[in-house]
Symmetry: C2
Subunit: 531 residues, 2 copies
């Protein structure tokens, strides 16, 4: 059997079919470093173009599909996902080395299906669209679907952020858009099974044929062409900064919306009083957070900021011991291992010293020894750019400042991040320092935490999984949290003196659902207009 | 007296001072084509840099300034503006040739002060920040000020869109940001007087010294450097497409937010039944709209789409007569006149024929004869890009389609626009065509109108003065309409397990104002948490 005979089909316009591409690739089992059985095609432009045109047709067809029908599709997909859980989790484990239990089956899967069902509820409820009505002047505005959405998923959450199943996917669909999923190359098979479930659910609920399409890989130039094409509504991207910025440049130039989640080192400030009060708990919390998923979380605590104090050295030493004792996890891919080597090298070259670890290996398959680095704030401030290099994996950098002023300088030198945490004591001895540093950290992060590690990203309407550039490309949007995440994939559409029967149901005088919140004459209400 | 001795000062950090720049420029009286008395400096980078750093300090100082104080400042500014109305309107008329009455004094001025007062009310009320609270998980998120905002104002609304007084200015300030105003070169004196009123109001209400700063002109490269600088929060730009896109490229590359309003030809579809029913009214409405402000409105009806029909030729002929009869207004500047000549030339070169007008002159000072062009849909479709060239002024292009299918093709070839209108009869004879074309037009415009010209842009919470690229750079935001316009100049900020006393007032359990709407556990309410 030739390699191409085993190449998996792409999903275009509702059909699984052989790619017209001549090149293919394989994912690798991170634990064995061996290629997995199936190969996956690299789609050439004509194939991408076909998917894009089918998606544009699907977007037109969606005009006649109600939000309730879209909700049914999302619910059905969640059901099918659960029915097929063992096959999906098995392949996901093979491709990512993430543990089937508890991580994939008991944590990520329910998070993902929960997200799909929340998105279904948001589609049904419609409050995400923020209908705003000025009755006196008969001007009415709401957010509406924007067009085909391209979703690029990351390597670290094959389900919850997967291009055919995750947060961007669910938000794009719930807002009424079709999705072109671009699988992450490290888990194409998992994405294929998820796209199968999505496509089966779409067929069962009478969605347009091209509601969900799947491509595995494209040439870089074709990727840029896709995200900047006039037929595309917007793009959601989660992944490496370099690839993301290349896509952003192309999309920006064409005036196309692109939402990116690029990188974050998630600074954690631990103040002396907190260490004095609960050093053991803090070390425990930190270890749990920093090694979660072998550190391959976008919210991994990559930098810890400490003040020089009698408690500092013992704390670092305690953390060092725990790093040594903790098992070394497997990394997602050879690329992640290589990138760890490069990042740790960069940090060392800029003056960070290795407390423990620092070299690849130590675990099963692709791996890197649990790595703790340390640097003085003065050295950090001499080259903050390099010392903010994200080491995506089981590593963290401790930065030790002489005093509050120097700690402030370090915080002021930080780029935009998804999260920032401050641990302080409960007695109040850290409060003065907290007040000095919190506003500075606040301005540089999307989510500020107290006494809590950043790795958990709750799917809540009040969540913000976003932040200033380069954590994301627009600090006004969140990638997690329904309904806010839907508004990324929507356009504001105003109806000025449009005749009543021509208005979308959400903007007519009668509230089309029992639950839809509308801003009528500056009052949020679920009533009908005039009621 | 040398020219430089008469050069007006810049406003930096609360002080009016001589620019360190060596170059200067003058605005011209559009009616006489002569230079106005005062000259204005071109600010070199060190001066811009100083303003930027002062703005960054002001942003830090604003942490201790309450929304109520900011509201006081905006209200005070509106009061001072009204007190000084005669001097401001006089200079605005001199610089723009817009009539003091009714346009400047009785239309634009009350619109502008109304906008400032609405922004003040929004700052006080705080609902624009959309506090979102998940009580079970203690996660809380709101929109907050983002940093120094650079505002570039357009030539056509010296007050209502002015960089030191208009919609972007009011939105940026009300959201809690300081503003660096970059005056439009065609009315620097008006902007100076407005910045004086703003600065006096800021001083009287104890705002940070650099709350409002004013620069008149910068080199293009310095402008790009400014909008892409790490200290800048975001930029609001209204003006020409070419200058706007150059700024956008620089800002995008640096990951800085920039909101642009670039160009729009505002397609108006007039269906045969409507002409049959009320040709005279339609011609009247169109003439009023197209010549408003000598056609220099971003919502000017630059393209009218008609179906070939027995009513069409008589309608065109009627409009032609009215174009001939209407007085020719004065244009804002030599640049606008030159641009009209270039645009009309481009339209002709692409196959449009001149029904009437077509050459410069005909009015007092800078002017261009009222110009009506006509083109078949077939010709339009052969070069839609050129035939969508915006002729900013008293001109319009009639596109005549053979049938509905061709009309659809024309609409599908349109770029993003601020507005799109459809006129249809009241009896229903146009309804079938309406249903065919409205969804296509809807997707291409920010505001869809029925039986109404687009030139009026109401300051309403339900307004959308925005639209798909290239009308603006982000279809999810509006430049007009409070409170939505404020959210352009804000970042989403989440507080996860942050201790209650450290939360901003808007996110604490107790609602800090009687009127603040918050989304608590997915219910919009004005109650306290737990109430």
């Amino acid at each position: 059997m030739t390699d191409s005979a085993m190449t998996q089909p792409v999903l275009i316009n509702g059909e699984w079919r052989a790619s017209v591409g001549t090149r293919s690739f394989r994912a690798h089992n991170p634990k064995t470093r061996e290629a997995t059985p199936d190969s996956y095609p690299v789609s050439p432009w004509p194939e991408i173009d076909e998917a894009m045109r089918a998606s544009a047709r699907a977007f037109e067809q969606l005009r006649w599909v109600s939000p309730d029908q879209i909700a049914e599709f999302l619910d059905k997909f969640a059901d099918l996902f659960e029915e097929r859980r063992s096959r999906i989790s098995e392949l996901a484990e093979l491709e990512t080395a993430l543990a089937r239990e508890p991580r994939l089956n008991s944590v990520e899967l329910p998070r993902t299906t929960g997200q799909l069902r929340q998105a279904a509820a948001a589609a049904r409820d419609r409050s995400w669209s923020m209908p705003t009505i000025d009755t006196e002047n008969n001007v009415r505005t709401m957010f509406s679907a924007i067009g085909p959405i391209v979703v690029f998923g990351p390597n670290n959450f094959p389900m919850a952020f997967g291009s055919a199943s995750g947060g961007d996917f669910a938000a794009a669909i719930a807002a009424g858009n079709p999705v072109i999923a671009k699988a992450n190359s490290s888990h194409p098979g998992t994405t294929r099974l998820l796209a199968e479930a999505a496509n089966d659910a779409a067929a069962a609920t009478a969605m347009p044929a091209a509601m969900v399409q799947l491509l595995y890989r494209t040439d870089h130039d074709d990727g840029k062409k896709l995200v900047s094409h006039p037929l595309i509504g917007a793009t959601g991207y989660t992944g490496s900064r370099s690839a993301g910025l290349a896509l952003k440049e192309a999309a920006d130039k064409a005036g196309k919306l692109i939402y990116l989640e690029l990188s974050s080192i998630n600074p954690v400030v631990i103040l002396p009083g907190a260490i004095r009060e609960r050093a053991d708990d803090l070390a425990n919390e930190f270890i749990t957070s920093v090694f979660m998923g072998t550190g391959q979380f976008c919210t991994n605590p990559g930098v810890v900021l400490l003040l020089e104090h009698e408690t500092t050295a013992p704390f670092v030493s305690d953390v060092q011991s725990r790093f040594n004792e903790a098992p070394v996890g497997t990394l997602l891919s050879e690329g992640v291992e290589q990138s760890m080597t490069a990042s740790i090298g960069a940090l060392k070259s800029a003056g960070a010293t290795v407390v423990t670890g620092g070299s690849s290996g130590g675990g099963e398959g692709y791996s890197f020894n649990n790595t703790l680095l340390q640097v003085t704030a003065a050295t950090f401030l001499a080259d903050p750019e390099t010392l903010q290099c994200e080491a995506f994996g089981n590593a963290s950098l401790f930065v030790i400042a002489d005093d509050t002023a120097q700690l402030q300088d370090v915080i002021n030198s930080l780029e935009g991040n998804l999260t920032g945490c401050v641990y302080s004591d409960t007695g109040g001895s850290d409060d003065a320092v907290y007040d000095e540093i919190a506003p500075l950290l606040r301005a540089r992060v999307g989510r500020l935490l107290n006494d809590k590690m950043p790795t958990g990203v709750l799917v809540s309407p009040a969540m913000n999984h976003g932040g200033p550039y380069p954590a994301t490309a627009h600090a006004g949007f969140t990638a997690v949290g329904i309904p806010a995440s839907l508004r990324r994939f929507a356009a504001l559409q105003c109806y000025d003196a449009v005749r009543p029967n021509r208005l979308p149901p959400e903007l007519q005088d009668t509230n089309p659902t029992a639950s839809l919140w509308r801003l009528i004459d500056s009052q949020w209400t679920r009533n009908h207009v005039g009621a």
